[in-house]
């Protein structure tokens, strides 16, 4: 392990966690959580005062919570949504999260929200734009923002900067943290033809606060970030590399569609302990050429799911 100055922006290594999903609420209210921490989708709990809030309050009393958003739209050319940010801050006052994260993306423009994590053209213009907005958000939240690399399916002709350089410069200039999704690196690397290991080696490792792992789907010509499968061996190898380079950061297993029972989810998560010891599960990449595959599934955000 390397000795990294100001590792993780001074934030703790929380260990192994999973997303707090409504499919598991009943189980979690009756059983020990068996995980070190939970990540919540912020939008699921903003202005939600029903049973979900009750479960969140209970979990927050026994485990650390991290807030992960999908609607900040930090790269959009629309003005920042201050009403959303106020709601986010109010939720943070209630939850007292260890940190707040979102994605390097835009979700809409002209006041339309696509509810997708859309890619940015990686240019000097975009970088300046995102830097300015990250600084505004950090000033407002009074804490560093943590941004995740998204999975993507297209690149813009106009792009002049690699995603790892973009994130590195963003972290350097704003002091924001990075949420390194090694599955997204794998998916985007496959779709755009870059080396995922090179991507991970090129990041400023002291800025990495958290890692996401997940299982994607091979649709034949491209990979899709489906969050509905066990983590494949190739993603586990990237995870091991990332843990070595960062010196150890909080790990979160994302599983957002076809969500398994909680004990099965924990079994998948625990594989991460063996991986850092060098034991890589021999899990294949899931193949499904079907046309109905959807990236960034929203099952975990559905009321009656």
């Amino acid at each position: 392990m390397r000795n990294l100055e100001n590792q993780r922006l001074g934030l703790p290594n929380l260990g192994l966690g999973v997303g707090l999903r409504n499919q598991h609420f009943a189980y979690l209210m009756r059983n020990d959580p068996q995980v070190d921490w939970f990540e919540i989708i912020s939008e699921n709990f903003i202005d939600n005062f029903g049973f979900a809030r009750h479960v969140l309050e209970r979990m927050a009393s026994i485990r650390p919570i991290v807030m992960h958003g999908v609607s900040l739209s930090i790269g959009s050319t629309d003005p920042l949504d201050w009403e959303y940010l106020k709601s986010l801050k109010m939720l943070a006052e209630f939850v007292q999260p260890k940190w707040i994260s979102d994605h390097l993306c835009w979700t809409g423009v002209a006041n339309v929200n696509t509810h997708d994590l859309l890619p940015l053209p990686l240019t000097e213009e975009s970088l300046s734009h995102v830097i300015e907005r990250v600084e505004q958000v950090q000033d407002f939240l009074q804490r560093p923002l943590v941004l995740e690399n998204p999975s993507s399916y297209l690149e813009f002709k106009e792009s002049t900067i690699t995603e790892w350089d973009f994130l590195s410069e963003l972290a350097k200039q704003t002091g924001c943290g990075l949420l390194l999704d090694v599955n997204n690196v794998y998916v985007s690397g496959h779709n755009h033809g870059f080396d995922p290991e090179h991507y991970i080696r090129s990041l400023p490792h002291a800025s990495v606060v958290q890692i996401h792992i997940a299982g994607p789907t091979d649709c034949g010509q491209y990979l899709v970030d489906t969050h509905d499968q066990p983590v494949p061996a190739k993603v586990w190898r990237l995870y091991k590399l990332a843990q070595e380079l960062t010196g150890g950061v909080s790990t979160l297993l994302e599983w957002d569609a076809n969500i398994p029972d909680f004990p099965d989810l924990v079994l998948e998560l625990r594989k991460a302990e063996a991986v850092v010891q060098g034991v890589i599960p021999d899990a294949p990449l899931h193949h499904d050429p079907a046309a109905h595959i959807v990236s960034n599934p929203v099952d975990f955000q559905l009321v009656s799911a």
């Binding site: 939008e43 903003i46 202005d47 939600n48 005062f49 029903g50 049973f51 979900a52 009750h54 609607s71 739209s73 959009s76 050319t77 949504d81 959303y84 835009w106 979700t107 809409g108 423009v109 002209a110 006041n111 339309v112 929200n113 696509t114 509810h115 997708d116 859309l118 940015l120 053209p121 240019t123 000097e124 213009e125 975009s126 734009h129 399916y153 297209l154 690149e155 813009f156 002709k157 106009e158 792009s159 779709n191 755009h192 033809g193 010509q221 491209y222 899709v224 046309a291 109905h292 959807v294 990236s295 960034n296 599934p297 929203v298 099952d299 955000q301 559905l302 009321v303 009656s304 799911a305």
Partner: protein
Amino acid sequence: MTTEQSLGRLQLWMKTVVTERGSLADKLQTATQLHGLSIEDVVAEKCDLPAHKRLGIYTSGYVARLLECMRADFPALRRFVGEPVFDAFAKAYIVTEPSHSPSLFDLGAGFPRFLDQTKPTNKEMGALLDLPAEIARLERARTEVMRARGVEEEPAPPLFSPLEIFTSDLKVQATPCLRLLELKFSLADFFDNDTDQEQPPPPEQRRSFVAIGRFDYRIHVKEIEHWQFAFLQACENPASAHVAAGRAAEESGTEPAVLLAQLVLWLPVAMQFGLLRPV
């Protein structure tokens, strides 16, 4: 493209391609007309995966993702009209009224109104054409009750006797999560009995009143009498139960003395279902 304009212009172009109606070719044509950019101008061709295919992942994913949300928010309507018809309704709504909210919870808020505004005008079908919008209203209200502020975290209410109504001392208020609906069909039972049936028979067509409340995080969908509906409306703000009963009697055309007698019996029930609380 100037540097200053390029980010905003690219985003508007992509937003148009993702959210416009029609095939990918239709969407691209609209985007070119509106923003003066073609797919060849915007998307890099790499790794033997054509630009159209890359863009198609986003355009097909947009509708599919939001359709999943609509299916989850309106399960009873989905079962009643059948999957293909529901999907057609929902897709039309998604492309006609794109989301303006950061929360997917708000996505379905305008669906009942959309169904009402776009229903066919076939006089022979009569009120039956109102049924999809009515079911959607009820399902939306139920979803709102699930998330609204309730009384679970409040201190236990003071003990009271419903007979206090007669002394004018009892003050009550509707719970903050209460939703009241006046409907053209008898939908409360239909909604309750709907869970296991693939395609349930249509509900009875008659005026009905429904109250949806929450107590101890359990949702209660109850058909109520007209006087009960009027009484709960009169209790939106803290009110003397006696005064609210007077208003309800006037509103519903019920004899005041009869209403008061019925209210004594019904108040504990209303509180048990999370419709009302003493204050």
